[in-house]
Amino acid sequence: MNKSFLSISSGVSSKVKSALIAAAVVAMTATPVAQAQTPKEISVWLHKAGSSDLYVKLLDEFNASQTQYKAVTLVGAGSTSGGSSYDDAVKAAAAANELPCVLDVDGPNMPNYAWGGFLQSIEEYATEEYRKDFLASTIDQGTYNGTLYAIGPSDSGLGLVSRRSVLESVGARIPKGIEDPWTLEEFNKVLTDLKATGKFKYVFDTQIAGASEFYTWAFSPILQSFGGDLIDRTDYQSAEGVLNGPEAVAALTWIQNLYTSGLATLTPPTPNNDFVDGVAAIGYYPSWKFGAYNTAFGDDLVILPQPNYGKGAVTGLGSWQFAITKNCSDPAGAWAVIDYLVSPEANKSVTDVTGSLPTRLSVAAQNPNWGPNGKMYILQQQLEKGVGRPRPITPAYPVITVAFSKAMDDIIKGADVQDSLDKAVETIDENIKENKGYPVQ
């Protein structure tokens, strides 16, 4: 084999050689022309949600706006992480080295992916100057170990939602802003007073149907406001005493009582829509549902800040973001796609359609709902004035959310609070130990 190969190569005449070189030159000069005609493909994965159609449309617009790149989009199933099919697919693809260039990731999962080594830093693209227009909470959510890996067009906030007429009928105080949220006693009284009116099938629509990540996003702020947390944030090595201490037990007992006392229900007649239908008096309000509420109640709608359960009010935050994977051979092209998706124009249309919180300050300022006179100003203020607390930014997050959701699910269905939280702590601590404390790589 070797010998014959050598003889052929040595036998190549100078004529052939020059022909080859000529062909190579032609090929080289031809390449840019070919590129202009067939743009470079950038693969993009999106999770399936109400907003996916819009993102697909935005990516089509991106393709039409320039000729250098072509985003090839795939919308995967499942919207929530912590055991969703989208999250499963991403992990499987990561293990098989089959990830796309641009990946849509749920904010709190990013540190795990980054630690696993399959995301690229976007520091060089998202410069200090570039970040100035973004909400600090969005940049925090996208940063792991001092490096920015992900950025997105929307953030989220949490509060209570009700009708002015309903609250006034029981003489409840309506908080004006984030400075005077309800205290635990006030909130309890409002709930029991509303139940006593007998006008509602149940009082508090907690929107838990079919939820997994929602449990962590929406209920860990209550846990934190009671004084507990998902993990000890000093070194992210253990949840002992934090997730199963007396404060955490008090928080989860309070949540459990909502369901056992009939103030909330495990089986809403129309899942996640009972407040809009008038079946429930108060809704636990995720910012992205503003549109539906506003259409239903208009001027009667009131949005209230998160109650203070003892140690100050806390809101959940964070949303899906975009990251570039290690598999991507053309990070500049991937960034072009992301840059388009978080551009002020795209940011505006995303937040107009979904009602979620714009991450660009310039867009938020112009949005009538999020501005100082807007109905959602309270949620914006919560994030800006430090009421928001991100879900723990640690590679251990996937196990934390699985353990907490399971404990929460068992507890609201009647399990012993202390036992369930102890189990969650054991799951988390064992996992961290098994991963040698998730050492920074």
């Binding site: 992916y113 699910d409 991963n435």
Partner: protein, 373 residues
């Protein structure tokens, strides 16, 4: 298998290896290649890989190097221990009681954590024994529950689903106009995605407006509000009922084929002898369906062990692990908690159990059948 081993020695003694025979072997391999390649790629390969991974601490996504851990995953799965917990006593030695008069015990967790010998264990279940509490602790109580739940599921679903399938087969075996419609209707759930069926049943099981509670209310003339999927006591029953309904159509078709293979003369002779329809069923139909029944029981058992989708969608193994199954535990550990090594160990144990059960079943049913034939 038996045919192959029987013919091999004969071929060896009868012929010397010839080019013709070699060609035949080659052709045989070529023709079975598509099936063999598939078998090795998707069954044998992953199985061997699973065996290997179960002896490592391989993670799904991790920069940490994979290490061999020997049989640690298995000891973490199967570790069991029994401790006896005595009630708390006050300074006079009298047993402390709470406001309801029940004896107060120290928490199992406190005891387990105070003794390094019990590291990694937690409570599975406890039984009262006199004034003490005999507590079974396990390294992975969820695995133990999954094991028990899976067996309970199989134990219930095989007779329920098989019986339902036989009844449906008898019904659609009638020579009536439009019977094809009913055959199709009964078979339809089998070809419908389990995910879709699970969602539909989620509405049926809804305690407030679900069809099932409404029906029970109507029949019992009272307000039935069973929390089917949210109650530890009913969640597994709910899963069994929907699973039996979903897949009975498949067994129905097999029974139907069996029924149509029974010679009509047998029934004719019986009718001449004056046998009632019920007698005909017990003395002709059932014995003639013996082989069909064996196939149905074995295939249902093996399929039933794999229960996963409906549980994952409807209950995620809850409430309080009352519906967690072996496959769900394997997926949760391997994928969602990213412990591929540990998840592999679960699947290896699962494989051994299914193999063992299928083997026993074959032996038992075969020998009975042999006596008959």
């Amino acid at each position: 298998m038996t045919a192959q081993t029987a013919s091999l020695p004969k071929a060896k003694t009868g012929y010397r290896p010839s080019t013709l025979r070699n060609n035949q072997t080659l052709v045989a391999f070529l023709m079975s290649a598509p099936a063999l390649i598939g078998l090795f790629m998707f069954v044998v390969g992953p199985l061997l890989l699973g065996f290997y991974w179960s002896t490592t601490d391989r993670r799904l996504i991790s920069p940490l190097p994979t290490e061999d851990v020997g049989l640690r995953n298995y000891s973490d799965l199967l570790g069991l221990n029994i401790i006896t917990i005595m009630p708390e006593r006050d300074e006079n030695g009298a047993i402390r009681r709470d406001e309801n008069g029940a004896m107060v015990y120290p928490r199992t967790r406190t005891i387990v954590r105070s003794d390094p010998a019990y590291e990694g264990f937690s409570e599975w279940f406890a039984l009262p024994l006199g004034e003490n509490r005999v507590t079974v602790i396990a390294k992975d109580p969820v695995f133990m529950r999954a094991l028990v739940n899976t067996f309970i599921f199989v134990l219930f679903i095989v007779p329920i689903q098989g019986g339902l399938a036989l009844i449906m087969a008898l019904l659609v075996n009638q020579k009536l106009r439009g019977i094809v419609f009913f055959r199709t209707a009964f078979f339809a759930p089998v070809v419908t995605s389990m995910a879709v069926i699970a969602l539909v049943w989620m509405f049926l099981y809804n305690p407030e407006r679900g069809l099932i509670n409404e029906f029970l209310s109507l029949v019992s003339r009272s307000d039935v509000r069973i929390e089917w999927l949210n109650d530890v006591g009913t969640a597994m029953i709910a899963i069994v009922i929907l699973s039996a309904w979903q897949s009975a159509g498949f067994q129905m078709v097999i029974f139907l084929a069996g029924l149509q293979g029974i010679p009509e003369e047998l029934y004719e002779a019986a009718r001449v002898d004056g046998a009632s329809p019920l007698q005909q069923f017990w003395s002709i139909t059932l014995p003639q369906l013996r082989n069909t029944t064996i196939f149905v029981v074995i295939s249902t058992t093996i399929l039933a062990f794999r229960v996963f989708t409906q549980v994952d969608i409807l209950t995620k193994g809850g409430p309080q692990d009352s519906t967690v199954t072996l496959v769900l535990h394997a997926v949760n550990q391997g994928f969602r908690l990213q412990r591929i090594g540990y998840g592999s160990a679960v699947t290896v144990i699962f494989f051994i159990i299914v193999l063992f059960v299928a083997f026993i079943q074959r032996r038992v049913l075969r020998s009975e059948n042999a006596v008959e034939g």
